[in-house]
């Protein structure tokens, strides 16, 4: 068994698989390590992606990945005012993450990467100050895997970066804490995603209904860590589900955290790169991270392969990844974070008023930015915060 690799990818989610695939495609010897027994499980995700985004990243979409096509979106204010949001002909998908993640890992394998599950990384190997690999537990054996570069795709709970001296800890106020059920036997419009706002529903966050089929949906919510105390997401979710879908059957119940903040300032160091949730590469407004992680993984894999080829895995050599990421998505996420900070200040009354005034805008003009602008007109005191969003202050 080959235990010497150019690149070790820790974590087998979409970010890790894309990184492993891209690195292998570019000629590096790669192993991807997943701590759980199975790729893609458990699914801690609402599973929504845009069709355009997925096509852009992968170049194709397999029909079996899609559990439901989405053509409409609705926002629901605390007083039940419903706002239809224009999607400008854009289509979304609710994925089968399990099948999707499996295929991405298989694609990494086809490109030449080794894939191991039940491979728990518990330390990095450092010799003469240099990263030389990782120590893992695999099928009750302790193994040392040698590698010149480690890509940490180890999720929200990432510890790899910390061991290498990167400040990856998420502040509780920047963590959305979430719970989700997959409910069946419910009355929904299968092509519409519905988002519920309100401080009673999900303080500092939102609740979602993402259809997985004609009578099935991922129903979940996230609350800001700022408001997470005695009342937990699971309690909010039970309340929400009891009210909206009292006769539903509960097929899954999962918990999870989403870092809703700017990308880590330092996500590379000598011999180490972080991607996906581990690098906080999530859209802080939506909490969406699948495509973000895949885009970052692809860039990181390519830059990593080049670094290995040149025999230089120093931070300086890895920096193009950081720059490309910021250009591709990072900047966008920073703007979303600032919008999110403003939206977080709205009271339920504010949200109700905004919903009613947005309903005065013709449907085809209702983009997220247009809704935001309308909100500002109603709340001039927020102009200063908004100026930060546009980067003028």
């Amino acid at each position: 068994m080959n235990k010497q690799y150019d690149i070790i990818v820790v974590g087998g989610g979409p970010a890790g698989s894309m990184a492993a695939r891209e690195a292998a495609k570019n000629g590096a010897s790669v192993i991807m390590l997943e701590k759980d027994r199975e790729i893609g499980v458990p699914v801690r995700c609402a599973e929504g992606v845009s069709q355009a985004g997925l096509k852009l990243v992968l170049g194709f979409v397999k029909p079996e990945w899609i559990s439901q096509k989405i053509t409409r979106a609705q926002l629901v204010a605390p007083d039940e005012t419903v706002v239809d949001v224009g999607t400008a002909g854009q289509v979304g998908y609710i994925l089968h993450r399990k099948l999707f993640d499996y295929d991405l890992a298989a694609m990494a394998g086809e490109a030449g990467a080794d894939v191991w599950t039940r491979a728990y990384v518990y330390d990095i190997i450092r010799e003469n100050g240099k990263i030389e690999g990782v120590r893992i537990e695999h099928l009750e054996q302790k193994i040392e895997l040698r590698g010149r570069l480690i890509i940490g795709a180890d999720g929200v709970e990432s510890r790899l970066g910390r061991w290498a001296g990167l400040k990856t800890r998420t502040k509780p106020k920047d963590m959305d804490t979430c719970a989700q059920m997959t409910l069946s036997d419910i009355d929904i419009d299968p092509e519409t995603i519905v988002i519920y706002f309100g401080n009673q529903v999900a303080p500092g966050g939102y609740a979602w209904v993402f259809p997985k089929g004609p009578r099935m949906a991922n129903v979940g919510l996230g609350i800001s860590g700022k408001y997470s105390g005695k009342t937990k997401p699971i309690t909010y979710l039970r309340r929400f589900a009891d009210k909206r879908f009292p006769d539903a059957k509960i097929l899954t119940l999962v918990a999870g955290g989403v870092p809703c903040v700017d990308t880590l300032k330092h996500m590379v160091t000598d011999g180490i790169m972080l991607v996906g949730d581990a690098a906080h590469q999530v859209n802080p407004m939506t909490g969406g991270g699948i495509l973000n992680g895949m885009i970052a993984g692809e860039i990181a894999g390519r830059v990593a392969a080049e670094a290995v080829r040149k025999g230089d895995t120093s931070e300086k050599q890895l920096r193009p990844y950081v720059q490309e990421w910021h250009k591709a998505e990072g900047k966008n996420n920073e703007r979303s974070y600032r919008i999110q900070q403003v939206v977080n200040k709205f009271s339920d009354q504010d949200l109700n008023k905004i919903a009613r005034s947005v309903n005065g805008i013709p449907l085809e003009k209702r983009s997220i930015m247009q809704i935001f602008k309308t909100a500002l007109l109603k709340h001039p005191k927020l102009i200063l915060d908004a100026a930060k969003v546009y980067g003028t202050v």
Binding site: K35, D36, R37, P42, R44, R118, Y120, Y122, E137, G155, V156, E157, S158, R159, R162, T168, R169, T170, K171, P172, M175, T177, C178, A179, G225, S228, G229, K232, P233, I234, T235, V254, A255, G256, G257, P259
Partner: protein, 61 residues
């Protein structure tokens, strides 16, 4: 003297790792379906108690 500790009940935990991400001391170790707090590192910041989606970590003295 009674020591204060953080207990994470593995029976109730979903192993999502949210507590690991906010832990101030990198004191929580999460494998596939086991989780434990290293009390020699823990600073009792209680971030894990506050953030847990399910309310599993508890302060015990």
């Amino acid at each position: 003297m009674a020591e204060t500790t953080i207990i994470i009940d593995n029976e109730r935990c979903d192993f999502c790792g949210t507590c690991v991400a906010v832990c101030a001391a990198d004191a929580i170790e999460l494998k596939e379906s086991t989780i434990r707090v290293n009390m020699t590192l823990c600073t009792l910041c209680k971030n894990c108690v506050d953030i847990c989606p399910l309310g599993v970590p508890e302060v015990c003295s």
